[in-house]
């Protein structure tokens, strides 16, 4: 398919990008990896009049050590860099592992962290990971900036808390608490497909108990679906085979809102949520040094 006519500017600096976006408001769209935006243009589902290309902004592509063992990651960092960067693998293994589930290598070589967060696809891996890791986003516009917590950023189906003129420029990933374990599991029909269901888990172990649990689902609602009751159950009743079963059942029953599609029914997605949660909690707890 071919897109409708659209103007294009390759931004030479962040300032230029921001001023163009400010000037054109909702008629303009930033172009990152283009792996979501270009298909939307080609199918003529999106019709901006101006594309502001961020790919020339090398200053937005980096992985730096952040405060207290965390990471600061530039918005234009590609999925493949997250997957392979030794610092990401060491400090945020959940992030690098989940990035490997995104589509295929060609797409991971172009798609960016900022792009997938801004696009807020409920089937995307990294929004879910950012919620599970309690990441924070630096968002700038011509003449100002603000910080948003991942938990508040994904406001609905394909909708992030971003105003016209705003750019997400940096993601701050705090370190996982000591003695934490993580896991990421998803199931897709083919390798690289958007998942029917997926889950990210982070469990922290303190004196044999679970002091903190994070359990967030993809593809099972309008955005990242956090299972707070299941988290609480593990935090209050500890991690055992029985509580893992119970938490998985609880989350699958009442903390997700899947809808059936042509590839998988609602019931099957709930069933998968339960199976994947059990796998993820077992694995995360093992990584945290425990045995369920």
């Amino acid at each position: 398919m071919k897109p409708a006519p659209v103007d294009y500017v390759a931004a030479g600096s962040l300032e230029e990008a921001l001023s163009l976006l400010a000037e054109h408001g909702s008629d303009a769209k930033p172009l990152a990896g283009g792996q979501s935006l270009i298909p939307l243009l080609n199918f003529r589902l999106a019709r901006p009049t101006l594309l502001v290309d961020l790919n020339g902004l090398g200053e937005l592509s980096y992985v730096r050590d952040g405060e207290g063992g965390g990471l600061s990651i530039g918005a234009m960092t590609r999925h493949s860099a997250l997957e392979g960067d030794p610092r990401v693998i060491a400090a945020a293994p959940l992030l690098s592992s989940a990035a490997g589930f995104i589509a295929h290598p060609q797409i991971r070589n172009r798609g960016t962290l900022g792009g997938t967060l801004a696009h807020a696809d409920p089937a995307a891996e990294l929004p879910v990971v950012s919620v599970a890791l309690e990441a924070r986003f630096r968002i700038v516009h011509a003449g100002g900036e603000r910080w948003a917590a991942a938990a508040d950023f994904f406001v609905g189906l394909l909708t992030a808390d971003l105003q016209p003129g705003e750019l997400l420029v940096e993601v701050e990933v705090p370190p996982m608490p000591p003695a934490s374990g993580w896991a990421f599991h998803e199931l897709a029909r083919r390798t690289g497909d958007y998942a029917h269901a997926g889950v990210a888990a982070v469990l922290t172990r303190e004196n044999g108990a679970c002091s903190r649990a994070r359990l967030v689902f993809l593809s099972l609602g309008d955005g990242p679906m956090r299972a707070r009751q299941a988290e609480q159950l593990l935090e209050t009743q500890g991690v055992s085979e029985a509580t893992i079963d119970e938490a998985a059942a609880l989350a699958a029953r009442s903390e997700i809102e899947p809808s059936g599609d042509i590839h998988a029914s609602e019931a099957y997605k709930r069933h998968l949520a339960r199976v994947l949660t059990r796998r993820a909690l077992n694995e995360a707890w093992r990584r945290a040094g425990g045995a369920a």
């Binding site: 071919k2 083919r190 690289g192 958007y194 042509i262």
Partner: protein, 768 residues
């Protein structure tokens, strides 16, 4: 029914008997070896020019406006806004003079659909077309065409299309034809004699061809002569249809095929796009490029019809089949009455059974027309027949391979009991099982945690294996011993050019890199039928062989004069001719004076007729091992083996490629592929992209695939001894997977593709 009827419009014209004696090949020097493709460099370097690569000076880009509704009447088309847009050079509709062309006809020859239709009967029916300076402007112009549709109720579920409340697709209602009936023996007596009966209903999905290169062409007029570069499996069917529709002499229509980026049966004939491009090119006086978008290819470039099949099989305790009853239902869409074409063939022909009854019913639905897809009808039938055989074996406590061996047919029962020219089905089963390690794999421990392993197999045959006339080939032998091979057939990616060059090399001793090939061009090559039906090698290789022998004989005749030795006493030895009995008597070809004067020897070869009263079929047996996750229903195919009797192996490398590709395609049918129509609300296709129409990727198929040629010697089928290969390789695959899943889990899934959702449900039900 002959497969040829399925691919050709009329009776096949005959070419003359070849004039050369063609002895059976003994040891071959070139044929059979795993030689790389003669066009490998062009293909992988990107220098091969596919039709969609053709760029001509001044070329315009065209696009087609299509009905977004499965059933609607066009009340008004307003094109003035589109015509006034920048870059737009032409807009045509059914009202444009010269564009009101009849396209679809029924069996009586009455027109039932036009090039541009005012009564749209499927989502994707062509309504208008534009030509513009750029592809972008063409798409923009489509949006500016205003169409007022009266949206009408639709029928998109073939299983309910005959119900009285189903909206009619065609004037006569939704029944496309009287049910087809085939019968032999006494069915009731057969079932009375049965000690076990298995009866089940099966479903297979509507599959799409999805070749990598979309359908389309570039068209250019030079005066009243039209040249079309078309992505096609056969330049001659395109030439004849275009000439007929536009009222041109055949000689004025040149169709150039050369490379084609896949077809799988969907490019056996021209599309509306070919004629539309020609009309736009004529109107604008400019060359026009018209290639469909991916979405258009999914909507209106053919499909393998979905089928519902009821199959009932009776057998004795010892496994001997006593009766088979088959009923098939399908739809060819809105414009094809063939939803069950050759669907029941394997029921009629594969296993020995005296009492058989097959009925088939065809209905119309509001969807794009079917086109033959790799082994039409056969993988569907195999899904039913081979699962029933597996179930029978289970109930009789027989090994599935053994059950099949007990029911081998010695003659072609579907053709009234005539013999096969060769039949390697037994060897496919026995040697396939041995090489796969079937017995050991079946007895291995099955499960570990959530994962269960199983093995399965299925047999099969393809209706047509001999190829047949007509085919004419020309071989030119130049003064320096290099050769030009000229043939009309397309190489649809199977390696046709390579195999044909090897046949020439075999007969003339010319190295492959001294052979140039001229093919698939109606102006410069000879008539050939489209490459399809697994018949290109068995049809065209004998003609090529005859042409090479014709050259060979002429060269010997000339040398005979020179050496004063009878031609029968001479043989070719590289670029020399030598006397068989006296190696001292030799002459370099370039020194043969008659040849020197002429500078070229032209050999013409014809494809002779097939033997009378005999049937030729390729046979197959495939074996696989799968791993099923009992919690999630995921099925992973771990390994596959394809044992195929397709007669002589012409090139082991291209042979194995076909086996791998066929198995990959069969895995798609078994596990992932299906067109989904919204039968409830809109009648539109729900998975109109490669994202949602799921073809297995390289990561979804096993790396461990073994091709095991069963090289039966067939001296009767044709003069090279090769039977068809391209289609049999995909026939048993899906059924073998279903049987392996049963072996792993004890659960049978009667509906393809074998859906993880459904399997997980069944597994959970059983555990509860």
């Amino acid at each position: 029914m002959k497969a040829a009827d399925y691919y050709l419009d009329g009776p096949a014209p005959e070419t003359p008997e070849p004039r050369q004696r063609q002895d059976r090949w003994g040891e071959t020097r070139v044929v059979g070896r795993p030689l790389p493709r003669v066009d490998a460099y062009e293909r992988v370097s990107g220098s091969a020019v596919y039709p969609s690569d053709v760029q001509l000076p001044g070329m315009l880009h065209a696009a087609i406006l299509r009905s977004p509704h499965p059933h609607a009447r066009v009340k008004r088309v307003e094109t003035s806004r589109a015509e006034a847009m920048p870059g737009v050079r032409a807009v045509i509709t059914h009202q444009t003079p010269g564009a009101d062309i009849a396209w679809y006809t029924d069996r009586e020859g009455a027109t039932v659909g036009h090039l541009f239709e005012a009564h749209c009967r499927f989502e994707g029916e062509a309504v208008a077309a534009v030509a513009a300076e750029s592809p972008y402007q063409a798409r923009d112009a489509l949006e500016a065409i205003e169409v007022e549709y009266e949206v009408l109720p639709f029928t998109s579920d073939y299983e309910t299309a005959l119900e009285p409340r189903a909206p009619a697709v065609r004037d006569g209602g939704n029944r496309a034809s009287e049910p087809g009936v085939y019968e032999r023996g006494d069915l009731a007596a057969g079932f009375n004699a049965a000690e076990v009966v298995v009866e089940e209903t099966f479903r297979t999905p509507c599959e799409l061809h999805t070749p990598l290169e979309p359908h389309g062409c570039v068209a250019r007029w030079d005066g009243n002569r039209l040249t079309v570069w078309e992505s096609t499996q056969g330049v001659y069917p395109v030439q004849s249809r275009v000439a007929q529709v536009l009222g041109l002499p055949l000689a004025n229509v040149r169709v150039i095929g050369h490379y084609v980026g896949g077809g799988f049966g969907s490019k056996l004939r021209p599309g509306k796009y070919t004629v539309i491009a020609a009309l736009l090119a004529r109107q604008t006086g400019r060359p026009v490029r018209l290639f469909l978008s991916r979405e258009e290819t999914l909507l209106c470039a053919g499909n393998r019809p979905a089928n519902r099949m009821r199959l009932k099989v009776g057998a004795k305790r010892d496994g001997t089949l006593t009766a088979i009853e088959f009923h098939g239902l399908g739809s060819g869409g809105a414009y094809s009455g063939s939803g069950t074409g050759i669907l029941d063939w394997q029921v009629r022909d594969l296993y020995r059974c005296d009492n058989v009854r097959c009925t088939t019913e065809n209905v119309y639905i509001h969807a794009g027309a079917q086109r033959p897809m790799r082994a039409p009808g056969h993988p569907q039938c195999s899904w039913a027949l081979e699962q029933v055989m597996d179930e029978l074996a289970d109930r009789l406590e027989l090994d599935p391979v053994e059950l099949r061996l007990r029911n081998l047919a010695s003659v072609s029962q579907g053709r009234g009991g005539i013999p096969y020219t060769s039949n390697g089905f037994r060897e496919c089963l026995e040697e396939g099982a041995r090489t796969f390690g079937w017995l050991a794999a079946r007895s291995r421990a099955r499960s570990e945690d959530d994962l269960a392993r199983g093995v399965g197999m299925a047999g099969g045959l393809w209706i047509a294996g001999a190829g047949g006339p007509p085919s004419t080939a020309i071989v030119k032998y130049f003064a320096d011993g290099s050769v030009n091979l000229n043939l009309g057939a397309s190489d649809i990616g199977t390696g046709t050019k390579t195999v044909m060059a090897m046949v020439v090399a075999e007969e003339l001793g010319v190295p492959l890199d001294r052979i140039q090939i001229e093919h698939a061009d109606t102006a410069t090559t000879q008539f050939a039928t489209a490459s399809g039906g697994s018949k290109t090698v068995p049809t065209d290789a004998p003609a090529v062989r005859a042409a090479a022998l014709d050259c060979h004989n002429q060269l010997l005749d000339m040398a005979a004069e020179e050496l004063a030795v009878a031609p029968s006493e001479l043989k070719l030895d590289g670029d020399h001719v030598v006397a068989v009995g006296d190696p001292e008597k030799r002459v370099a070809l370039r020194e043969v004076s008659d040849f020197r004067r002429r500078q070229v020897v032209v050999g013409i070869g014809y494809r002779g007729p097939n033997p009378e009263g005999k049937a030729t079929c390729p046979f197959a047996a495939q074996f696989c091992e799968v791993e099923v996750n009992r919690r999630t229903g995921e099925v992973r195919v771990l390994r596959f083996l394809g044992a195929h009797d397709s007669g002589r192996v012409m090139n082991r490398a291209t042979y194995d490629n076909q086996v791998y590709g066929g198995i990959v395609m069969g895995i798609g049918l078994g596990l992932t592929e299906r067109r989904v129509l919204d039968t409830g609300q809109t009648g539109k296709m729900c998975n109109l992209s490669w994202h949602d129409y799921k073809i297995p990727t390289a990561l979804d198929v096993p790396a461990d695939v073994t091709s095991l040629p069963i090289e039966t010697e067939d001296v009767e089928c044709n003069t090279v001894g090769a039977k068809g290969l391209g289609e049999p390789v995909t026939i048993p695959t899906a059924a073998a997977i279903a049987n392996a899943v049963y072996n792993a889990t004890g659960i049978r899934v009667w509906e393809a593709p074998l859906n993880a959702t459904r399997l997980a449900e069944l597994l959970a039900e059983r555990e509860a």
